[in-house]
Symmetry: C2
Subunit: 263 residues, 2 copies
């Protein structure tokens, strides 16, 4: 007979906001949510079936088997120092950039990582089944706890080491955080000129569809790709009052020029 | 009785590759294609019903009413100087960054702009009906030629002045060329670590869907948005052997930090 699979969360940010309900809907029961800000824990608990707000990091009497740290990276080490766990607990973090051994001084030998390669915002629903989950485990017991949990919520589970996970995370910053910020800069430029952002939407969707279809190298277009220095100068002149935006324009354009027009 | 609407192209690059067939399929007839490289003109002509390669810029005996310059920006002025046109010809360019008056010394007073806000690569089919076309005209005759032509191929035709068009073009460089280049950098990082680019696809599509749904400012996530300086340092350490990529990482991250964590 399979035991009930109880899970506790440390952290209640954007990732926990989506991951905890996904587990709740996949045969797991989220029992406890701890957050430095108890109000944030309360709001997450309202999304869950049986969870309660946990006021401290003393989980010594917890029924959970798996404890998921879903905080910002810089909080992980403090949590590892403070957390008190029941016997045989499995402790995992969800960070792309932190190695498995950031957990090494925790009060359990069963350590793992579950890194979801996705961008999470509270207001935007995501389909967890399509999210790649990258798994690392210190030992077999951990792997036997983490793999079924990951497979219960996603169709795309993959084992990966800490160094490759960091490469994925750096790549994800460019592919997600920086692409989104390029759109934010475009939005700012249009707002300053009273032009609706919606005009850009067909361009943005085609850019991404093409980049995925042809690969980004083959898909590249634009004045920097063509080495059209006159246009680059005109654009920099247009941006002359926004020094930091102009600096980004210049650096990224130069990188494109160097990639496609080497000599 | 409506006269037959003949069009000639100067230039045979990525835009002409898609725009000329779109006109051919919308009640216009592309009669002539001129290109500095006649072989490129030949290849485009093969995609068209009745077009012929034009060997020179002397169109004095042409049957066309509308002449479309679809070259790189830096070629436009040379073409304006050299081109010979029939009486009452309408001459338009397709550049985002060039003002209408770059055409002012042409041998006709009927000057216009048709700027399609899209990224074009020969290998990727596009749906012209969904492409915003931004129109500018020197006079009524030109407008009466360019507006029907634009409306014949696109559902999204908009009149706009030269300065706003330049703002759109600069925004489009960020929204398209630079987002695609961020994906190219991500691809490079993954290739160096033998990780398949396909793992990023759910992240990329969700990033764009979310950015369009919430707006890019609300959609921003990542270590720079959170002000997580430890992760930024680790990523810069990871990129230490790729100085130009690290420089982009640093500059874009700083811009995100300044936008979301001002103090």
């Amino acid at each position: 007979m399979e035991s009930v699979k109880f899970v506790s969360f440390i952290g209640s940010g954007n990732l926990a906001w989506h991951l905890a309900p996904a587990l709740d809907n996949a045969g797991y029961i989220v029992k406890e949510v701890y957050s430095r800000n108890p109000h944030h824990a309360e709001i997450l608990v309202e999304r869950l079936y049986q969870a309660e707000v946990k006021a401290s990091l003393d989980f010594s009497t917890s029924d959970s088997n798996v404890f998921i740290i879903a905080t910002s990276d810089d909080a992980i080490q403090d949590i590892v120092r403070e957390i008190v766990l029941p016997d045989e607990a499995v402790l995992i973090h969800t960070s792309g950039s932190q190695p498995l051994n950031v957990l090494q001084f925790a009060a359990t030998p069963h350590l793992g990582v579950l890194y979801p390669l996705q961008t999470f915002s509270k207001l935007k629903k995501v389909d967890f089944r399509e999210i790649p989950l990258f798994i690392e485990s210190s030992d077999q017991k951990t792997e036997h706890a983490v793999m079924p949990l990951a497979n219960a919520i996603s169709n795309k589970v993959q084992k990966i080491g800490s160094e490759e996970r960091k490469a994925l995370h750096v790549a994800a910053v460019f592919a997600s955080n920086f692409t989104n910020h390029m759109l934010a800069i475009a939005d700012d430029i249009l707002q300053q000129n009273n032009i609706n952002f919606d005009w850009l939407i067909p361009l943005i969707t085609e850019t991404i569809n093409k980049s995925i279809a042809l690969g980004p190298e083959e898909a590249q277009t634009g004045p920097a790709k063509r080495g059209d220095l006159e246009v680059l100068d005109e654009h920099l002149e247009f941006l002359r009052k926004q020094k930091s935006v102009a600096a980004i324009y210049k650096l990224v354009s130069q990188h494109i020029i160097d990639k496609y027009n080497p000599d």
